[in-house]
Amino acid sequence: MDKDYKVRLEIFEGPLDLLLYLIKKEEVDIYDIPIEKITKQYLGYLEMFKVLDLEVAGEFLVMAANLIYIKSRSLLPVDLQPPEEAAEEDDPRWELVRQLLEYKKFKDAAGHLQIREATQENMFVRVPETPELAAPERPLGEVSIFDLIHAFQGVLQRLDKKEDLREIFEENFSVSDKIDLIMRLTAAGVPLKFTELFAQAASRTEVVVTFLALLELIRLKQLRVLQPETFGEIELTRV
C-alpha cells in the first residue's frame, strides 16, 4: 500500500459497528459479552488498522479505553466494585450492551431503507408527454373540415357508381347558383340532411360545385353544420 496515502476507514462505520461485527463473528450473546475476549479482538483490529496505515477515527480509541475500563472493573472482586442502586445495573457491561442494542436496531432500520432505496431506484414514474388534446377539440356535435370532406367523398363514391366517372364540363352550374339553392332549402329552419343535398346532383361536377358552395356558406357563417351522433348523418341549418 502506498505509504503516502491514508485510507479513510469505511469498512466499519464506527466503533459500535466493529463491536457488533465481533459479537456476530464470535457468535457470543450480546447480553453476556465475554468482555476480555472481545476487548482483545477489538484491540487486535486497531493494531491491524495501524499496520495497514489506515486512518482511525478518534472514536475507535475512545471505545478501546472504555472497553479496557469495563474489563478492569469486571476483574475486581465483587466487594471492591463501586456500589450501584439497582442490582441489574451492577454489571459494568450494561451501558455498553444497551448502546449496542440501540445502535443495532437503527443499523437494521438503515438496512431496510437501503433495500427500499434499491427498489425505488428501479421503478420509474410515468411522466408522459403533454397529450395532443388541442387539435381535434371542437364544440360538441360540430364537425371539422375533415368530416365534411369525408362526407363529401362518400357522395362522390356513390355518384361514381351511377355515372362512370365522366366529367361534364359543359354543364352550367355555378357556385352562386348552388348557394342560392342551399339558402332556399334551409330557409324554413328545418335541418337539411347532407345526403339529401346531394341526392339530386346528376354529375360529379355538380357535386363538386355544390360542395364548394357549402364550404363558402359555412365560411360566411350562414350555415351551421351539425353531426348529432358520432359517425351519424350530417345536418345543415341556417344560423
Binding site: A134, I145, V175, R219
Partner: protein, 224 residues
C-alpha cells in the same frame, strides 16, 4: 421476464414515442452495462422485427383488455395514449393546452394544404376565396406547415407543405392516412389564374353574399 414485458415497461416510462430501433438500442446499452447477465444478453439479440411483433401484440392485448389506454404507432414511434372517450376529463389536467385550438379558417387552410401540397398561397386563396396570409403565418408558426420550395411560375411563389408536427397533431402516420387522400387529391379545385392547368370547374363566386370574394387575378405575386 419476456421481451414483451420489458418493452411494456419501456413504453410506460418513456417520455416520448419509441421506435423498434430505439428499443433495440436500449437493449444493447443495457447489455453493455451488465455483460454477464443472461437476460440482458438475450434481449440485446432481439431483432427489430421481433420488437415490432411484440409491439403489435401489446396493441392487441390492450384492445382486448378494454382498458382506458391504447398503444398507437405515430410518425416517430410507438406511444401509449389515454382512450379518446376520456378526453373531456383528461383535458382538465392540461388547462393551459386549451387555447391552442385551431380556428375554423386555419383548419380549412390546413386541409387544403394537406390534400394539395405542395401548394402556393394563390391557389389556397383561389379555393378559400379570401386572403390567407394571416392564417398561413400562424400555421407556419405552429410548425404545422413549412415552406417546401418555389413554384415554377412567374414570380416563383413559395410552396407550402405539411410537416411532421401536422401528422403528430392529427395522429396520422403518413399523408396516406388522410381521409380519402387518393380521391381528394385528384379533385379539380379552383386554382389561381396563373396556373397553367385546366380551366377551373367552379364558376366565379359572384353570389349575393355581403362579403366580397376576391377572385384571383392574373399573375399574383407570391408571398415575399
Amino acid at each position: 421476464m419476456t421481451l414483451k414485458f420489458v418493452i411494456e415497461a419501456l413504453l410506460f416510462a418513456s417520455q416520448k414515442p419509441l421506435s423498434p430501433r430505439e428499443i433495440a438500442g436500449v437493449f444493447k446499452s443495457a447489455a453493455k452495462e451488465g455483460e454477464e447477465d443472461e437476460l440482458r444478453k438475450a434481449l440485446a439479440a432481439s431483432r427489430e422485427a421481433e420488437i415490432l411483433a411484440a409491439l403489435e401484440e401489446l396493441t392487441a392485448d390492450y384492445g382486448q383488455m378494454n382498458r382506458a389506454f391504447r398503444l398507437v404507432e405515430q410518425v416517430n414511434g410507438w406511444t401509449l395514449v389515454s382512450h379518446q372517450d376520456c378526453g373531456p376529463w383528461v383535458r382538465q389536467l392540461f388547462p393551459e393546452a386549451k387555447p391552442s385550438r385551431l380556428s375554423g379558417p386555419a383548419l380549412e387552410t390546413l386541409a387544403i394544404i394537406a390534400y394539395r401540397q405542395p401548394i402556393m398561397k394563390a391557389d389556397i386563396e383561389a379555393v378559400r376565396g379570401v386572403a390567407v396570409d394571416g392564417v398561413v403565418q400562424s400555421l407556419l408558426e405552429r410548425a404545422l406547415i413549412r415552406i417546401g420550395g418555389r413554384a415554377e411560375v412567374p414570380g416563383r411563389p413559395l410552396l407550402y407543405e405539411t410537416t411532421q408536427v401536422f401528422l403528430e397533431h392529427f395522429g396520422f402516420r403518413s399523408l396516406e392516412e388522410l381521409p380519402n387522400a387518393h380521391e381528394l387529391r385528384r379533385l379539380v379545385l379552383p386554382t389561381a389564374a396563373i396556373a397553367p392547368a385546366e380551366p377551373p370547374v367552379a364558376a366565379p363566386l359572384t353570389a349575393s353574399t355581403e362579403e366580397p370574394v376576391t377572385e384571383p387575378e392574373i399573375p399574383t405575386d407570391g408571398p415575399e
